[in-house]
Amino acid sequence: MPTISIFQKDFESLLGQSASIDQIENWLMLVKGELKDHTPATGEIRVELQDSNRPDTWCVEGIARQIRIKLQGSPVAYPFLETKSRPKRTITVGKGMEDVRPFFAACCATGYQVTEEGLAQLIQVQEKLADIYGHKRQTVSIGLYRLPKIQFPVTYGLVKPEEARFTPLGMTEKLTLKDILTVHPKGIEYSSILADHPTLPLLWDKEGQILSFPPIINSREIGEVQIGDSELMVEVTGTDLRMVLLTLNIFAANLADRGAEIEPIEIVYPYATDWGKTIRTPCEISEVQKVPVHAIESALGLPMGVETIHQALSAYGYQVKASRHTLAVRLPSYRSDLMHPIDVAEDVAISRGYASFEPIMPSQFTVGSLSALELTSDYVRDHMVGMGFQEMFSNILMSHEDLVERMNLTPADHPVVEVDNVMSLNYSCLRSWILPSLLRIETASPRAFYPHRLFEIGEVAIQNLSLELGSKTVIKLASLVAHPHANFSEIHTSLDVLMYYLVQDYTLEPTSHKSFLDGRVGKIMVEGKSIGLIGELHPEVLEAWQISMPISVFELEVDALVREER
């Protein structure tokens, strides 16, 4: 989740009091923030915010607000949500918009003169919200404008790509929408959002002046807010109305916190939405929810009483009405993350501070145990170590070449589970056997003194298209000896000792396998079933791995050795 830059002075002025860096770090618990870095010379503080459902906390205004509420013990009242009078400005949504980018919200903010600091923060929150919360502008994007240049009413409608021309931010000449999508860096970056639409969204005013081409780029003329501006318009477009409204509410609260007066705008849709055909934005978006007191008390393990819970929630920004057993709660306008009463319980705990809850031990008796497979694996490991083998431990994403081609095999001989979205060919397959992991070590370690006696026991994925998941995960053991006289007999002895102590009868059945020398390879048979291979590696394999030492090996499925009758 996002990491943002805030400045201590700016933070203190929003908070309304000075604060030491230790205090700030401590308060960041209230917003699930972590202090990453602090530069005392500039006052810059880097904060990482964890909660992907609380985009209101991804900015200095939101962080300061949550702390301010806690310090004052009651929610912030935003008068622009209360006034009943009809807004003096209107924006009309055009027909057909429901198929392209259906939702729109906007408001004006006057009386706050934009400072250098304020502008930087406005741009930062605009970017973080559109990029992360808005899925790279797909679901939400935001535009900021110089209000005095706009003649209302404004229209958010569709036009043909060649029909409209304006000078976009970052350019000096007028371009058509079609040109913007192919030439402008932002057009190229975000054109896929509008792919396949014959007509494109545009925002223009009464005079026909173009404000922007959402969600791509603003006009240079009207859509470039500058330091010193004191009358702004904020607009949000998107594909999810709740997210669009929440985003505008966050901007409105942020600007109001900086001293602006927020003037709502009436948005008139030609089609019905979940909030009606005419929406005054910003607006309250959360319903009042009833939460039983006991639900919170039992989740937190503490009978706190309704009064304590009421106080904790008020001091976290909730509007609360309490009766004896039930709380009627409503989230503030800049939040929309209440899905279940348990969410309220967490906010109570955060508001009161986790340190105020005394830990108690879970008291119920349970029996600890390892799986039969793990116990068998451990038993096998003990015996391999006892026979003088060094245990190895490898990454299990490998290259196809290591698993198949270097083993003198073809994809038809040896299917493996492959990754679709490959990042590096070195990590493109799940290993299907462990021997290639050990050979990687041999290739890398010719200077480690001999003999090499290695083993690894671990998970592999065996492709099997008849299974539900297309593969199964099993544990295999591979063991290897490498030295000038390494041969079949030596590794056979190790296998034989291991099987003796596993109390497991087995036979070897001659077979042929392209990784091994003919006549020196066998299947390890247990109860009529092949559970693995033993043999001397073919010189072709050794050459492919650039190994100049004879190697003999065995590899078997540990799953087949598990005794379930414990």
Binding site: S52, H340, F365
Partner: protein, 519 residues
């Protein structure tokens, strides 16, 4: 130790060398020592090593001599001539028969490597012994090739023995060096080897000990044998004393992998706290890896750049009911969980998409759906995969230690109690603190920070109570703690590692020498 004591613990081989060195006033080479003692070269080299380690002798001077001899390639040239010589003979023979040979014709005989032939042709052209005519044919001229002649002479001269390079004329030396084996080019007729001859002298301490040496004077027992014990002959002779403070020879023992050993300890501790092991598949469906954990399908961490998708097959056949329907309802509108849900159209096709398990919590989800015990405690040490560039702090696959606790008495405070226990048992931390955290599948969520005895404050793990949207659709109605621990940093510190890739090192020497005790 006195010179007498030091003398008594000498090996017989050492006695021979010291006596020989003492008998001459000059420094002696190993060749000279071989003449003066009855020892063979390997014994001399071994004893010289021991005596140097004891500082009884030192190297007085080093002389480097270069010897030149024939390689297998060179012996081949003796039999059929060098490439240049052979080309001249072949081409003039062809001309006499009224034919001509091209480079291709020469290569077709396969007597020499193409690179050997092309170099010889270049040489002959340069010296004017051949010329290329129309059609690529090679024609000999009347001009001789001095280099070819000289090479022939040198090959003959070295047929029987290697020679000191310095006996050759400077011109010949240049030629020998030019045609000798070098790194990256083994197809050469000569090989020049460096031999270092060292001359050894006694040190002052060595002189004192050497004066006492009388080779063969007293017969000492070096190794007690069964025969001596049987016939009692051990009683008649003294036992040679050993230098017991010399380093012993190194062996590679059978041994567990140190990181695995650490995970074994974690495993034992969890079992001792009453946790039962659970296991799950490496290849998972998006359903069990994410949907069942109430991560919405539009969650930012579910994009193509966060998870590895499987290529063959791309999807599972089906997702077991009633879990699929219940989870779909929870996502869409909360179903019977008491939640509003995420409020989007859940894509049941996408749920079947196969991924490499991205989080150990997937194993917990499967356990919840399989009638777990109540009260019950489960853990897994699960291999997980992340779509990350590999570097010192990111691995493509790694282990997550995580688990769940089910019980009627589970709540936020028992969660904190469990974490306090983990801080003590897993990190030996006396101090710990809890911070609010965010995970899509838990509420409330906690981060556990501990003050580690050596690492200072560090994040040890994350935990929380599973959201009802997770537990109810999987058929669990009691509260459930979900926890995960990040232990790799502690393992790395104990093993002295700074790079996460070293936990799975392919360097055998590194693994053999890696050590550390986990408290």
């Amino acid at each position: 130790m006195s010179a007498k004591d030091q003398h008594d613990s000498l090996h017989p081989l050492e006695v021979h060398l010291l006596a020989a060195l003492c008998s001459q006033s000059t420094a002696l080479s190993d060749v000279k020592l071989a003449e003066l003692t009855p020892l063979d070269p390997s014994q001399i080299s071994m004893a010289l090593g021991w005596l140097q380690a004891k500082a009884f002798i030192r190297i007085d001077s080093e002389t480097i001599t270069h010897f030149v001899g024939l390689t297998e390639v060179g012996r081949g040239y003796l039999a059929i001539g060098s490439p240049a010589e052979w080309i001249l003979l072949s081409c003039s023979a062809a001309t006499q028969d009224g034919n001509s040979l091209t480079v291709k014709d020469l290569q077709a005989k396969e007597l020499f490597q193409p690179t050997e032939l092309s170099r010889a042709i270049g040489l002959l052209k340069k010296e004017g012994a051949i010329q290329m005519v129309a059609g690529g044919a090679i024609e000999t001229t009347s001009t001789p090739s001095p280099t070819t002649e000289k090479l022939k002479g040198l090959l003959g001269q070295l047929e029987t023995a290697t020679e000191d390079l310095s006996v050759f004329s400077p011109d010949d030396q240049t030629l020998l060096k030019q045609f000798s084996v070098k790194r990256g080019n083994a197809q050469e007729p000569f090989r020049i080897e460096e031999r270092v001859e060292r001359a050894y002298m006694l040190t002052t301490e060595g002189q004192d000990v050497a004066k006492l040496c009388r080779p063969g004077a007293t017969e000492e027992i070096s190794q007690l044998t069964p025969d001596m014990l049987k016939d009692g002959t051990w009683r008649n002779k003294p036992f040679r004393k050993y230098s017991i403070n010399l380093r012993p020879p190194r062996v590679a023992p059978g041994r567990r992998h140190p990181y695995r050993e650490f995970l074994d300890l974690v495993k034992r501790r969890l079992v001792s706290m009453g946790f039962q092991e659970m296991r799950g598949p490496l290849v998972e469906t998006e359903f069990w890896d994410m949907d069942a954990l109430y991560m919405p399908q539009f969650h930012p961490a579910r994009a193509i750049h966060d998870v590895y998708f499987v290529k063959n097959p791309t999807s599972a056949d089906k997702i077991a009911e009633p879990f699929l329907s219940r989870v779909a309802e929870a996502h869409e509108h909360g179903g019977s969980t008491g939640s509003t849900g995420w409020g989007y159209q859940y894509d049941r096709e996408r749920a079947r998409r196969l991924v490499l398990r991205s989080q150990g919590t997937a194993v917990s989800a499967r356990t919840l759906a399989a009638n777990p015990l109540v009260p019950g405690k489960y853990f897994s040490i699960a291999r997980c995969f992340r779509y990350d560039q590999v570097d010192a702090t990111h691995a493509t696959d790694f282990f997550q230690v995580e688990g769940i606790i089910l019980g009627e008495d589970i709540n936020f405070r028992t969660l904190l109690g469990l974490l306090t226990l983990f801080a003590k048992e897993m990190a030996q931390a006396k101090e710990s603190k809890f911070l609010p955290a965010y995970f899509p599948f838990t509420e409330p969520s906690v981060e556990l920070h501990v003050r580690h005895p050596r690492l200072g404050w560090m994040e040890l793990g994350g935990a929380g109570l599973f959201r009802p949207e997770v537990t109810h659709p999987l058929g669990v109605t009691v509260p459930v703690i979900a926890w995960g621990l990040g232990l790799d940093r502690m393992a790395m510190m104990a093993l002295g590692l700074h790079d996460i890739r070293d936990l799975f090192s392919v360097d055998l020497e590194k693994v053999r020498t890696m050590r550390g005790r986990f408290s």
